[in-house]
Symmetry: C2
Subunit: 127 residues, 2 copies
């Protein structure tokens, strides 16, 4: 059984789970948000450094994703008055509450990749 219920699962409990997951996905949607948060786990980073961490994200998209994360209070933007200007992006304490989600995704993704690789190995080679 996937989700452990204290009591026998009712249709209402199931619906509540579905809606809770939809709420979560609503703010974590898209290709980049969760990887981006992970990129900031080890401490604040600059715009360009995040771009490097995420490999092939374009500045437009990164900018938009960072704004989204700011609006949802996952990320704080800090500007330093240097020349040229320095900007740091830092996770908020609220972002830390995403820990279990990210860890579960990381663990599963690792296993999943392994599974794919192994199934490829046992298949006839397609040329």
């Amino acid at each position: 059984m996937m989700i452990q219920y204290k009591t026998k699962p009712t249709a209402e409990a199931c619906l509540a789970s579905i809606n809770a997951v939809r709420d979560a996905l609503y703010v974590l949607n898209g290709k980049w948000k969760m990887p981006l948060i992970i990129a900031l786990v080890n401490g604040p980073k600059r715009f360009k450094d995040i771009q490097r961490s995420l490999q092939d994200i374009t500045p437009k998209v990164l900018s938009k994703e960072l704004r989204d994360l700011e609006m949802n209070e996952f990320v704080e933007r800090k500007v330093f008055d240097t020349v040229p200007v320095t900007v740091l992006y830092e996770l908020t304490p609220y972002a830390d509450t995403l820990g279990p989600i990210l860890e579960a995704l990381r663990a599963w993704g690792t296993e999943h990749r392994q599974r794919i690789v192994e199934s490829r190995r046992s298949e006839p080679v397609a040329v």
Copy 2:
């Protein structure tokens, strides 16, 4: 700290985490896949019943999502030779490995909704 590392986190470990999460998101992407899986947690369901569980999903989209989940071996489609035909969709054991992800999303989504509701309460009412 969001993700617990056995040793001091290196840039490589961070990159590995990012890629693992990206792998996971690749097969779980979109608005419906995870809610759909939850809808099947309590046992196999028929097409129409899934549609009802997910409220406003259209048959076209549901059909496509189910095919995607079948391809990734999360769901098995079983046809029964009744009149009219009966089709059941059932989770595979592999879908069960998603348990921690879904539970983490459910728990976080529940808290998050609560947080939003509370912050709304303390704000001036916008008319």
